[in-house]
């Protein structure tokens, strides 16, 4: 079902407003809130991200053109569902990853992921 969300986001871009197409139980991704969260969590101090001006981050890989990337952290296929899992707990996939567990909730992860794919 996340794949469905992804397809919709990619095709509708920022004017995302079609909750009726979705499963009722799924939260509607909010790209604008995603952007605010990306700043608040300080993703930009570690990553170069389009649209986020912060301390010029070079601790992790650049996330520009994220939608085109094949893998997440060289391990997971780059899909909405996997990205949400990664954001919530990177150490589940790489025990000693330098990307910290930021304590992101499921709802927040959905919005953040939506923002990354919309770039």
């Amino acid at each position: 079902m996340y794949v469905k969300i992804l397809i919709i986001i990619l095709s509708v871009g920022c004017q995302f407003k079609q909750p009726d197409v979705l499963d009722e139980k799924i939260k509607v991704p909010d790209i604008k809130r995603g952007k605010t969260l990306v700043f608040a969590y300080g993703c930009g101090v570690c990553h170069t991200i389009s649209g986020i001006r912060d301390y010029p981050g070079a601790i992790g890989p650049p996330l520009t053109d994220w939608a085109k990337r094949k893998y997440i952290a060289g391990k997971l296929p780059n899909r909405m569902s996997e990205l949400i899992l990664w954001l919530k707990n990177p150490q589940a996939f790489e025990k000693n990853s330098a990307m910290p567990n930021l304590g992101i909730s499921q709802d927040e992860a959905i919005d953040i992921a939506a923002y990354l794919y919309s770039q």
Binding site: A58, I59, N96, M99
Partner: protein, 288 residues
Amino acid sequence: MKTRYAIILAFLVSAFLAGAAGAMFIDVGIYDLAAIRPHNEVERKIIMFLKTNSIQYHARDLKAPGMNDPKRIRRGMKLFHKQCQVCHGAPGQDRDIVGVGLNPNPPPLVKASEHWSAEEIAWIIENGIKMAGMPAFGLGQSEQDIWDLSAFVTRLNTLSPEEYKHMLLALQDDALAEELQWVAPEQGWKKLKQVSNRKRGKRLLKRFGCTGCHIIPGIRSLNSYGGPPLTNWKKRHFIAGSVANNPINLVQWIRFPETINKGTMMPNLNVSERDAWDMANYLLSIEE
């Protein structure tokens, strides 16, 4: 005559409007002080410029004592873990919730020693940074504490998340602490300059097909998204989020990625040691 009056009148009116706008900006509060919203580009540039000049100027008379001392670094880490990690985090460790709402976001300090000298870092710790949420630690702390902290912050640059975890354990355990390498090991920067060939490295990156999976500035690589873009590689801190980015680690990664990150999708391409040093030389020169 009439036009002159008109001009004066127009001038007075516009001066009044400008003043009113200024008063409104300060008084009414149009300027957005909410920490949740980022500074705009101009504000950010001005702040960075002011900060750098001011700190370099004020720290000019300080002189660091011997910093490469295992005991000093271990003491510094103890203090760092207690006082700084809440806001700045550490390799693989998040900052606390206190550090999350700050604007500017407290930067991770792993790269601090590349912007600042040990003396400048000590000055920042002692005096803090105005209007930025970086507290001054000078009041409650001895001079030795501040140099110890500065020594550890400088060492952060070379630590992997795994080493950091080991060091945390060794803070409590003297026997364990004996075995650990508190002082930074050789990173291979001298060897990179002396033995490797950047031009040859550039050709090899193409020949080995690295550009098929990576965007590499200076080499044609369109639509190569199998791996992360290697843009700005000189400034990048970690390799595959696992070890510090320096020549020795990079050569190891290019030759045997699976030894650094088990299960990685980056293939082992049977690269010889010499070829790997040349490619590392090119990658570590990328600044865009």
